[in-house]
């Protein structure tokens, strides 16, 4: 008998019935009854934007046509010199193309190789990482990132500025709706991360400070039909 | 907390005086009786009563608690409400007696019936009898001088019985009585029965903060509907040399209705 058997045997001995799964808690019922969900896409954009800003993120709402040039201008204004991104996403390619054409001062660092080959460089020399969120959650001001070859985990984590694009139509009302509509449980990525602002801490005398270990700054671009055009 | 549904006013009630009031604050028991009678209810005080069993129960001596509680349960044969001038003892009878006797085929159901019939005094006056204290006050010939009071609600009264609102309602109904706020009002005074004996330092620190907060509230006196808290706060204040007067809520209300300024 090993530890596993002993632990499980002890737990089993203590239970009157072997399987009690049927009395499952009514999670769906709760969220149907208790959550005032923002109905329209516009309302969701507004809520997401407001909460992200309250969490110290900068938010740009832009149209499909205009976001890339607006972002390029903003990156220049922020003094971003070295930007890591993955060009396997449409928006990643678009941004890379725009930045290359603009002959500005931004150096592009494609995240297309295993982290081991450039770990120190990533930690020490990259100013910003550009990511495309898989979806977002209005109720908590949250972006959702699912790891994949095109979505390295550290791109939203290691550079001091995290630039994230989210498409307005992917914003869910609340977390339960996101998990349900996207069927998270059916196909979990190796890493699903929900991000609700730049990294922070209140560990010193309950005083809020940003930029603990993750990004110090977060810039979110919400691409929406109703966004600002260039 | 589940919202309690209250019965119509009865003709007669039992008064359960509690062991602390019995020995240390007996006038509070008499004032509870007067308030009930003033509201037109006949009061029966079973002479065989002693204690709800809480001291033994909370200190982990279930068997003793059961023996003492069972002795009380035999006293309330009529179908009358049992009114208790203590949130703590009322909470014991209403919430813990059924648990204590859950496995007992005879006393278990009996405990449940009694639990349903148990009411804390202020709760009973406000919710069941719906006493109009302002009107009673108006009948009194002398108007007592204005006074500032701080209310201390015991933890059981607040969290088990939900009767803080009733204490407040009673005091607010009395002309000339101004309620003053104290800091951290919801925090325990540190009595906790045997806690004050087993961990005197912690309990002492808690009551020291409590008396300081009450004094800083600028009240003329403190009222509470629980004798345990009153003894704790009152005797601590006395030990600290503070001129803080404490009084059971029942006595305070009865006195104001009589038009007396000082007890």
């Amino acid at each position: 008998m090993n530890a596993r058997h002993r632990i499980l045997a002890k737990l089993r001995n203590a239970l009157p019935v072997e399987n009690d799964m049927q009395a499952a808690p009514a999670v769906a019922g709760y969220y149907a009854a208790n959550t005032l969900a923002p109905q329209t896409c516009q309302e969701r954009v507004a809520q997401l934007r407001g909460l992200l800003q309250a969490a110290h993120a900068e938010v740009i709402v832009a149209s499909r046509a205009a976001w890339v040039s607006l972002l390029a201008v903003r990156l220049a204004a922020l003094g971003v010199g070295r930007l890591a991104l993955n060009e396997d996403t449409e928006e990643g390619r678009q941004l890379a193309a725009t930045l290359r054409e603009s002959s500005g001062s931004v150096t592009l660092l494609p995240f297309d190789k295993p982290i081991e080959t450039w770990k120190q460089e990533l930690f020490d020399t990259v100013d910003a990482g550009f990511t495309v969120a898989d979806s977002a959650i209005a109720a908590t001001g949250t972006l959702v990132f699912k790891s994949s070859p095109a979505q390295p985990r550290s791109l939203s984590l290691v550079p001091p500025l995290h630039v994230a694009l989210v498409r307005a139509e992917t914003i869910h009302a609340h977390m339960f709706a996101a998990a349900l509509e996207e069927q998270w449980a059916a196909a979990m990525p190796t890493n699903l991360v929900m991000v609700s602002g730049p990294s922070k801490t209140s560990d010193i005398q309950q005083t809020l400070a940003y930029g603990a270990h993750g990004p110090k700054q977060m810039l979110v671009v919400i691409v929406s039909g109703e966004g600002e055009s260039a | 907390m589940e919202k309690r549904i209250y019965p119509a006013p009865p003709q007669q009630v039992y008064l359960f005086g509690t062991c602390l009031i019995d020995l240390f604050v007996p006038e509070a028991g008499m004032d509870a009786l007067r308030l009930l009678e003033q509201a037109g209810v006949a009061v029966d005080f079973p002479m065989g009563q002693s204690c709800c069993g809480q001291p033994a129960y909370t200190s982990g001596n279930e068997a003793s608690a059961r023996t003492v509680a069972a002795a009380q349960m035999a006293l309330f044969q009529e179908d009358w409400p049992i009114v208790v001038p203590s949130g703590s003892c009322a909470g014991m009878m209403r919430h813990h007696w059924p648990k204590l006797f859950a496995a007992d085929p005879v006393l278990g159901p009996r405990a449940k019936v009694l639990a349903e019939r148990t009411f804390e005094l202020t709760e009973f006056l406000v919710e069941v009898l719906k006493v109009d204290f302002a009107a009673l006050h108006a009948q009194s010939t002398v108007a007592p001088p204005p006074i500032k009071v701080a209310l201390h609600t015991s933890c059981s009264a607040r969290r088990e019985m939900g009767t803080r609102s009733h204490g407040l309602a009673l005091l607010r109904a009395l002309p000339g009585v101004e309620l003053v706020e104290q800091k951290n009002e919801a925090e325990c005074c540190g009595f906790g029965g045997v806690f004050s004996l087993k961990h005197p330092d912690i309990s002492g620190a808690m009551v020291a903060d409590k008396t300081a907060a009450i004094e800083a509230s600028g009240c003329d006196q403190l009222v509470s509907a629980d004798a345990g808290c009153l003894c704790n706060i009152g005797h601590a204040a006395e030990h600290q040399g503070r001129a803080l007067k404490v009084e059971h809520l029942a006595s305070f209300v009865a006195r104001r209705l009589r038009g007396e300024a000082q007890s």
């Binding site: 979990m188 930029g211 | 005080f45 002693s50 933890c155 903060d209």
Partner: protein, 486 residues
Amino acid sequence: MSTQTTTQPLQFHPSADFKNRSREALADTKLRQNFRGAMDFLRGKRSAQFPDENELENLRDLGEAVRKHALRNLPQLLEKLETQLTANGVQVHWAETAEEANAIIHGIAVGRGAKSVIKGKSMASEEIELNDYLGERGITCVESDMGEYVVQLAHEKPSHIVMPAIHKTKGDIAELFHEEIPDTPYTEDVDELIQIGRKTLRQMFVDADIGLSGVNFAIAETGTLWLVENEGNGRLSTTIPNTHIAIMGIEKVVEKLEQVIPLASLLTRSATGQAITTYFNLISGPRRPGELDGPREVHLVLLDNGRSQAFEDAELRATLQCIRCGACMNHCPVYARLGGHAYGTVYPGPIGQIISPHLLGLDDTRDLPTASSLCGACAEVCPVRIPIPQLLIRLRTEAQRNPGEAVAHRLKGQGASYSLGEQLVWKFWTGAYAHPSLHRIFRWLATRLRAFAPKQQMGWTRFRTPLQPAERSLHDLMAERKGNRL
């Protein structure tokens, strides 16, 4: 195979002298002020998160239902979790004791030739005192949560399960950083202090061989570890090093992903008064082919360490509903005055008082169950409705039970507070209060001999004037009113 045969985890500091430590803590004015301020702040933050009482109560009902459901199905959920995690490429280990858990983690480290471990926050690793264990064997553990880092730098223990350095002021930390971190000027600016911590720890994420983390919730159906944090150190620890080892108590598993959503909401709102934390980090496996980062190996250590003792008893099982938000300590009048260190256990405050006896046995924790006025503030805020006062009373019963008495579920250290003297007192009390004729004599004596009431009444008179019975009892007054003879 029972807990009685397992060795006492010696790594815990004994909590036997709780009373001395609490006296010291109470006398420390600065500590008292720090905690008072912090508790008031956290209470305010929490209550601001729950403006709608109905929503709060409904959510607590749901949270309780989720946790109870998980515990009712615990063995099969653990097996399901193991199956799913294994299918996802995660290696699952089981540890009955702290010693076993440490040995498993050490074994993994040795197998990888690891020299250094970067740690995300993990109370389970505090519980097994992993840092000391690995340190003694030449492997360095560095805490990366800012609060844990401060505590480690000061060679202390966390004083709170969510905010480990809550007992320290920024001045304390300024001094600590100035003295312990080379070339660090003294500064009380919190932003600067955090940046110092960030800079000092950053290279360690790059260099560490192993990242170690705790787990907030584990999801059986998907084989997912759900981690909650604000700083990003948890993500870095579980993303950058080649090997990630997670450690969690066996009670933390729930059946479905959707069931964690209400728990996570309750956790962040109850703990720090946040609607959500910066990161919810859901880990379901190591780096897959084609992925460019993430650990190549993920391990999960499932820790019992006394939890199954609580599980065995239907009433005490509720202890394991806990999601470690710390709201009970934030609202506890005892914790607010003592702080966490006085408890002498890894988990302080009300949750510590009910879980520690299972982890350590009642012999070492006998004073914890009684260190409560049973005010109920903890149960009032508990997001999963653990009846903490009820469980404290139960532990008092078990601590006072005759050590020789045979019971269905014997707790380690049964009868640790058994005292013949106290039993006699209760016997006398029971006699006096259960028999009206004896009670009448007792009342008569108490009132007539009131002048002889002792001036010293145990602990009572250290802080209060003595209690003295009234001249006439309520019974006397009632008898007079009735015109009855007493």
